[in-house]
Symmetry: C2
Subunit: 321 residues, 2 copies
Amino acid sequence: MSINLGLSHLRAVVGVADAGSFTAAAAHLHVVQSSLSRTVADAERRLQIRLFVRTTRSVELTVEGREVVEVARHMLEEFDSGLRHVTGYLDGSRGTLTIAALPALAATLLPGLLSSYRSTRPDVTVRVLDMLSTEILHHVLAGSVDIAVTGSPSPHPDLVVQPVATDSFFCAAPVDHRFARSERVTWSDLAGEAFIAFDPATTSVRLVVDRAILEAGIGLGPVLEARTVGAVAGLTAAGLGVTVVPGFVLPMIEFAGLRHILLEPEVQRSICIVRHRRRPLSPTVQGFLDTVRTAATSEGPLPAGASWHVTPPTYGGLENV
Amino acid sequence: MSINLGLSHLRAVVGVADAGSFTAAAAHLHVVQSSLSRTVADAERRLQIRLFVRTTRSVELTVEGREVVEVARHMLEEFDSGLRHVTGYLDGSRGTLTIAALPALAATLLPGLLSSYRSTRPDVTVRVLDMLSTEILHHVLAGSVDIAVTGSPSPHPDLVVQPVATDSFFCAAPVDHRFARSERVTWSDLAGEAFIAFDPATTSVRLVVDRAILEAGIGLGPVLEARTVGAVAGLTAAGLGVTVVPGFVLPMIEFAGLRHILLEPEVQRSICIVRHRRRPLSPTVQGFLDTVRTAATSEGPLPAGASWHVTPPTYGGLENV
DNA sequence: CAGATTGATGCTCACACCGCATCAAGGTAT
DNA sequence: ATACCTTGATGCGGTGTGAGCATCAATCTG
């Protein structure tokens, strides 16, 4: 005989737990305080347990309350994400496609793909949200985007990942730098070099670069950090150091007149399409995936150092996106 | 602007999809048909999409309906299991402990543990549900049991698995069989032997045995299948063949007066405690886990071929149950 | 063609939920 | 110390959702 709790009970309990106050939670949930008070009391009555200890001045979770809230929060997240998956899918059926992508990919890889896609489905409204890689995965999991295009995503049981391209890392240096005249540059050559790095909090590139530096067993010279591609390119062009960027970023730093040299040993990241395992594939999404596959097999143009990951013609064994 | 669907809508839609009929689904959901008809229509109105094509004689899912139902089903499963986790946890706080276990473990391993547990918490009501290994994991995932004791469970992201013991496999033979006089028996020795096997549909032991036989690269003689330990032991004692059982089953076949010999190379299965990652640990569950740890470290008595998996005193790196 | 069964619809009613007003209790400020 | 403010709880009235009952049109069956 399971206890009958509704969604409103869960939202009320989690809301109060998060806000730490009935009044604040009520405002946040767009109901009046009295209603919320009743709903929480009702939940406690149904569970036959006290979830909060209230004094007239403060609200605190009980031990049991803390556990219940954790489970309830997960239930609500699952419910809401399910709802978003459904509405997103239905929007897709009505002609909307929402894609999350890394800024560099949104600027270089996506335009060509979307141009091809537009020619096959001119009626579809496409939204591109450029954001950081961790944010991207959250959006896919939460169901607020149809698919995502990102680099080497961390595995997750609810995510289906399909590599579509690989992207090599280059050293970019000002034209008067000694690297600009050399035929080849290795990671070890970066030892002691003044370096312009991406902000680790905002770009996933930094992670890969740090790791490669670590594996080369060297130390950099003075490091200068910047958040945007433009700033990094500008600082590099000004002679403040060299930098390392993936191939898909090269077109975006062209303006600065830098020279780029493939770093050896070659370090690659894979560019992947990520979608939620349980999100139904709407016609618009399916169409986009078809476009990507066509582009990959026909080897459409890509920036230097990047290449399509050609999907085998038969999908046996491989998870079909 | 997300669409506002309630649990009742989801239950109605999934119910109709499963029953294939409004009337049947209404009966199953304990509402009248008219109410269900309205609820589904309301869900379709809110989603602005047709989920079912109805003739007056049949109901069929649309393409979109099929996708929506799949997501909705998952949402309901998640919701209901969350509810069961909460109520199960609260029951635990009130003094109830529900354990799922393989029949052999419920008969041999659990009694001693529960006896110790009873001495520390005499007020707790303990329920033991013995069932097959696949069923066991379903119950843990669905939240209908606190924990489970089973052998080598398949990994699952929502399951926390803690090995507590290992169990070796023995060949059991009638006293007048040649194996009964031999010092050692290898898996290869089983080649061509008449064999009493467990029904593969009802016991997980069969899987392990089949695999070991396969790896030994031999074929058995005539195979006789039975479903219960008693039947297997009886058939073996009657001279109809030899059998292979794990150590925890040995006490249960003692009555038949069989001889058992450790099979070489030694094949083991690990006996594990399994719990749901998000299920809060009630005092009763925590107490039982403490009892198990105490029994393991004090090396309490076990059947032949079985040994405790002593948990390292520090839990660094290991997932603490 | 008559009867049975299907899902949809008009009607009524009950209950849950919401908002407003108010209260008691416990902090805060002068 | 006392007046004031903020907190959560509660009495009350209104409303909307959802349930059940009765019935209908459409269709299948014999």
